[in-house]
Amino acid sequence: MTELSLVQAVNAALKRAMNEDVRVLVLGEDVGTDGGVFRATEGLLKLFGEQRVLDTPLAEASIAGASIGLAVQGFRPVAEIQFTGFAYVCIDQILNHASRLRARTRGRLTCPMVLRSPAGGGIKAVEHHSESPEAMFAHIPGIKVVMPSSPTRAYGLLLSAIRDPDPVVFLEPTRLYRAAREDVLDNGAGLPLGRCLTLRAGRDLTIVAWGAMIKEALEAAGHLAAEDVEAEVIDVATLKPLDSATILASVERTGRLVIVHEAPMTCGYGAEIAARVAGRAMTSLLAPIERVTGYDTMMPYARMEAHYMPNVGAIVAAARSAMAFT
């Protein structure tokens, strides 16, 4: 066991994956000599050489597009897009090609690639560096969307993403890159994709979150425990495909649901979870489903960022409201 930050855990997973499978390549802007702007790929160039760690020209669409060509040819490219604000031009490649090649060719061509990108706010970055576009990606059939919430989970989920036979968009919470640290066992074990992780058990209320918001969700659960409200905290981890069963089973027990995400509320991923719970566990619900989310606004610049992000107080308030409903 070594104590690693989340970005170091990403680095460890990349190293592990590259060691175990020569088909794994890393490409992106500044991923080579510089080791990535967040150092996620630090040391990889030295270890694996420029045949496997490729600094690309500044061209996000083609980073995704070239990765598709590599993946179809049997490589396992792991592309880094420096910030999700620059990943939107990749959506053409992901939506029109990576996600569809298997189906279009009836399984003849496949696209086992990973598109990694730091996502979310809270680091007082310059504009276009702090958004949470997970719902946009989760709307695309044929890809998987993963968002880890801790170093251990980043390590295990990234290994599984790289080993997955289908394209995976892997969104890493920037705010946790250095802030989250824990002992990580670098043993090559992947965490299964498509499974929610129950991080805290509770009988009264279910809090569902993912990515960096897990930190606030767990803290809120701590506060609620002091009020004798036992909150269950579920880390969605893989947004697509969604493990509805774990969420439904929890809500069937607790009867109350608070969904937390950083992205704007309208058409946010919380809407999907709420619809599923309303559709399948209606009779278990004891209170309206609460959503604690970012606002339907532009992500404010750094000075106002904290007012945009859902905080522990807002989650606790939503939980109290759900508990008080009769």
Binding site: T56, P57, A59, A71, Q73, F75, Q93, A103, R108, P241
Partner: protein, 353 residues
Amino acid sequence: MLGKRLLCVLDRDGKLVGPIPEFARVPTELLRLYRALVLTRTFDTKAIALQRTGRLGTYASSLGQEAVSVGAAAAMAKSDVLVPSFREHGAQLWRGVTLKELFLYWGGDERGNDFAGPREDFPNCVPVASQAPHAVGVALAFRLRGEQRAAVCVFGDGATSKGDVAEALNMAGVWKVPAVFVINNNAWAISVPRQKQTAAATLAQKAVAAGIPGEQVDGNDVIAVRAVTEQALARARQGLGPTLIEALTYRLCDHTTSDDASRYRDDAEVSGHWPTEPVARLRKFLTDSGHWDKDMEEALLHECSSAVEAAAAEYLATPAQPVSAIFDYIYAEIPAELAEQREAAAVHAQGDA
């Protein structure tokens, strides 16, 4: 290079105007090319007829541009990979995609992309230019594995206005990957003529900015197209990097069967281009050089027509896929939630309220 030289072997009357490449000294090779041009055009005619009678979907004709397609594909090795747009039926047929597969694709059946022949070739790319970066990735894969293979990417004149092409040429140049980019410059991007597409004097000169060679070739001269593509592929295989080829041709047809080109261009312009079209040009050369006559022509037309009719009949007799096929290829392993949708779709498919 770069628009100063337009490579041409046969003029519009089928007369030799340039040095004849090695392959073109072998009559059987020329006959193979001629057969491919005729087969492509026969397929094209049938596809339009099927569409007009409601038995095929919207179809993008390649009328007049067959030499670009056939010439580029004929230069390729079997193990190379074709990354086409949606108008390169001639290239696909040359590489072993079957007529039935083409009919299936344009008839709205994904199985048309499951090529039994060229297993690694990409399917058609409808979002213009977005296939160009794929060719860079494919070619990079070849380079990384040390293989003597290359990717050939074909796109239209309109595609050269898009960022994807600029990015792909640039990336291919930086990495010196074995890729050849062929522009099927048919002078029209639906209703927008070439001169409204770019202020650049040639499309080939777009290579300059990427630091790679750019060539113009007479795209109605199948011999020239094959020759220039062969040279580019030879460079690629020697590790010298990518090439951009601008093949100048003319879209004698509508953009697709959903288009009506008379809305935006004069018939006179179109008829002015018929004397330069590629099939008659090669036929004249073959006839003049004593390798072709009327009987051979009739026999070939009959052979192509039979093949196309048989494939069309096979296509029309192919039952649609089961409803479950909508779901079966989305992921390697179907997620639980999608399996539920698959079951629901099977029930809805029964049609009962």
